[in-house]
């Protein structure tokens, strides 16, 4: 399952004391269903902000944004939460696993939040953990896992409900090269297998080149680097 993402003239600014910092200055974005797009840019250029806006975690100040043909502008917090639950899977640089829950329970969390019958999703969680080589670590808590293992758990969690859109914010940024490569390869495999639309923020040019398109966010504007 996949969706298209379409954004026009997105702007977003933050207040930093008295000063207003403009992070997105009229960003336009078109991602076709099932496309894997990398976004590059220096630190602080607004890559995470763009992902948060596209994923319904933050609201743009102005502009148009539609995911799967549905406009996100004007949705209330509960509708945005529903959108995130049904449509988006997030992978963060620092994993953001819940420390009190085991790997399997963390993977199952989106089904709990969506209040879906847990039986079939438990099986899918176990399958996903097996697919990323963590079948024997399912009962471990995040504190008992390495960074690479935690990110693989986070990847399983993001893909549990087969969301049509995956947003990955520097998923290998906190990992050593070998673990990073392993996580990235798994991400590519799973995204391609499910046909998921994916926006990937990365600092790693080598990884960006392996995506279908590379965009660069500079000075709040998104430019096409390669196709």
């Amino acid at each position: 399952m996949s969706v298209e993402v379409r954004a026009r003239a997105l702007t977003k600014s933050y207040r930093d004391g008295e000063r207003s910092v403009e992070v997105l200055r009229g960003v336009g974005l078109d991602v076709a269903p099932g496309e894997l797009v990398a976004i590059e840019g220096p630190s602080g250029s607004g890559k995470s902000t763009l992902l948060h806006v596209v994923g319904g975690l933050d609201r743009p100040d102005a502009g148009e944004l539609a995911v799967g043909g549905r406009s996100l502008v004007g949705l209330d917090p509960a509708e945005l939460a529903r959108f995130r639950s049904r449509t988006v899977g997030f992978v963060f640089q620092f994993y953001q696993l819940l420390a009190d829950f085991t790997a399997a329970e963390n993977v199952l969390m989106p089904a709990r939040i969506a209040r879906l019958p847990l039986g079939p999703w438990r099986r899918r969680a176990a399958e996903l953990l097996a697919a990323v080589g963590l079948a024997d670590r399912a009962a471990h808590f995040p504190g008992q896992l390495s960074g690479g293992e935690q990110q693989r758990v986070a990847l399983c969690r993001a893909l549990l409900l087969e969301p049509p859109l995956l947003l990955a914010d520097e998923p290998t940024g906190n990992l050593d090269p070998a673990s990073g490569e392993q996580v990235f390869a798994l991400l590519l495999d799973l995204v391609r297998a499910q046909g998921t639309t994916c926006l990937l923020v990365t600092h790693n040019p080598e990884m960006a080149r392996r995506c279908a398109r590379v965009l660069a966010l500079q000075n709040g504007v998104l430019n096409e680097l390669s196709r």
């Binding site: 948060h52 933050d58 509960a78 995130r84 420390a99």
Partner: protein, 392 residues
């Protein structure tokens, strides 16, 4: 099967894991212990008051007629007595006369209230046997001790109705046998004596005629008062045991209400600690909350999660406090552990009576305070911006 709402799924685990974090577990323990202490104190204080009031009420009601009717002056007491006896629920009725008088024995004179009765010793003279009573005066044990008289002795009763003699009005004095004594107790406000109307004839100047009415129980007396009013002439006053002791019952009720409000403040203060606890708990889990929001949890649901956490901590404390308070009250009463100086009080120990309805009310109030404070404490989660939470 559909899982329960997110708050119910996550709260038990969050409570369990809170113990690992020293600061939040300390604050949670302080809040729960404070609420437990407040609830236990409230349950104990109310049980002590209930026990004391129950004993006092029994003591007072032992000395109060179930129903008393004051008839208008000049009414036909005999006819009205027959009318009253026909009213449904009346088991016994008799005419009484009340007057002041002086009791003289061994050179000591004491002012007394004289209650003259037609048929049998009124129930407001507890602990005396009626078969002994017909023969003469029944006086309180303490008065009998003070006058150094015992049943069978003779005492002189000086009435309030004088005899006119050529030398001027002279008091009427009658020597009467002491037929028995009654338990005067420490709640008696003055000395009372009872004697049959036949023996009081011509001696006293009674006030308005009075009827004493008895029914099955104190509770039955209340509706009976209404039925009695229907058959009595205008100007009659029907007073139940409640009317006769209204100021006392009001004072007892007020005392409990004030005690409830005062001790509840402990619970309020403890519940406010819960607000600080929840704030700390939210701050320590802010990024996890952001991750939950990213997975589709609405901020309002996260607010409910923390409200539930507060209610679990506070409600647990309240339940523990209610158990401790109730068990302590039952033990203190069972083994009479709080002693009172019997020279001062009418009891030699402090009785405790656990009224479960009251314990339920205390629990309800504590949980309501807790819920209100938790709702307040959890508002930050309800208003969170998921993207900001993830940036921290």
């Amino acid at each position: 099967m559909r899982p329960p709402p997110l708050a119910w799924q996550l709260a038990p685990r969050f409570v369990k894991s809170t113990r690992r974090d020293a600061a939040t577990s300390f604050l949670s323990a302080v809040a729960a212990a404070g609420i437990a202490l407040g609830v236990a104190a409230l349950v104990l204080a109310l049980s002590a008051l209930a026990g004391l009031q129950r004993a006092l009420r029994a003591e007072i009601l032992d000395r109060t007629p179930q129903l008393e009717i004051e008839l208008p002056a000049g009414s036909d007491t005999g006819e009205l007595l027959r009318a009253v006896e026909k009213v449904e629920g009346v088991r016994f009725a008799q005419a009484l006369a009340r007057s002041r008088g002086w009791l003289v024995a061994g050179g000591t004179a004491r002012e007394v209230e004289v209650v003259a009765y037609a048929d049998r010793l009124p129930r407001s003279f507890p602990g005396a046997r009626t078969e002994e009573a017909g023969a003469g005066l029944v006086l309180g044990e303490e008065l009998a001790d003070d006058l150094r008289v015992r049943p069978g002795d003779r005492v002189e009763l000086v009435g309030t109705r004088p005899t006119l003699t050529p030398l001027g009005p002279q008091p009427r004095i009658r020597a009467l046998p002491v037929a028995g004594t009654f338990h005067s107790g420490r709640t008696e406000r003055g000395d009372r004596v009872a004697l049959p109307l036949a023996l009081a004839d011509g001696l006293l100047r009674p006030g308005p005629p009075v009827l004493e009415v008895a029914t099955g129980s104190l509770e039955e007396a209340l509706p009976l008062a209404g039925r009695l009013r229907e058959v009595l002439p205008a100007g009659s006053a029907v007073r139940t045991w409640q009317d006769l002791n209204r100021p006392l019952f009001f004072a007892l009720h007020l005392e409990r209400a004030v005690m409830f409000a005062a001790v509840s403040l402990i619970v309020v203060v403890a519940a406010l600690v819960l607000v600080a606890d929840l704030a700390l708990l939210q701050a320590s889990r802010w990024r996890e909350l952001g991750a939950l929001a990213a997975m589709g949890a609405a901020p309002r649901e996260l607010g409910r999660l923390f409200t539930l956490l507060g209610v679990i901590v506070g409600g647990g404390g309240a339940a523990a406090g209610a158990c401790v308070g109730a068990v302590a009250a039952l033990l203190l009463d069972r083994f009479r552990l709080v002693r009172l100086p019997s020279q001062v009080y009418f009891l030699d120990y402090l009785p405790f009576a656990v009224e479960w309805r009251e314990v339920g009310a205390v629990l309800g109030v504590a949980v309501a305070f807790t819920a209100a404070c938790s709702l307040w404490g959890a508002r930050r989660s309800s208003e969170m911006q998921p993207a900001e939470a993830l940036r921290r």
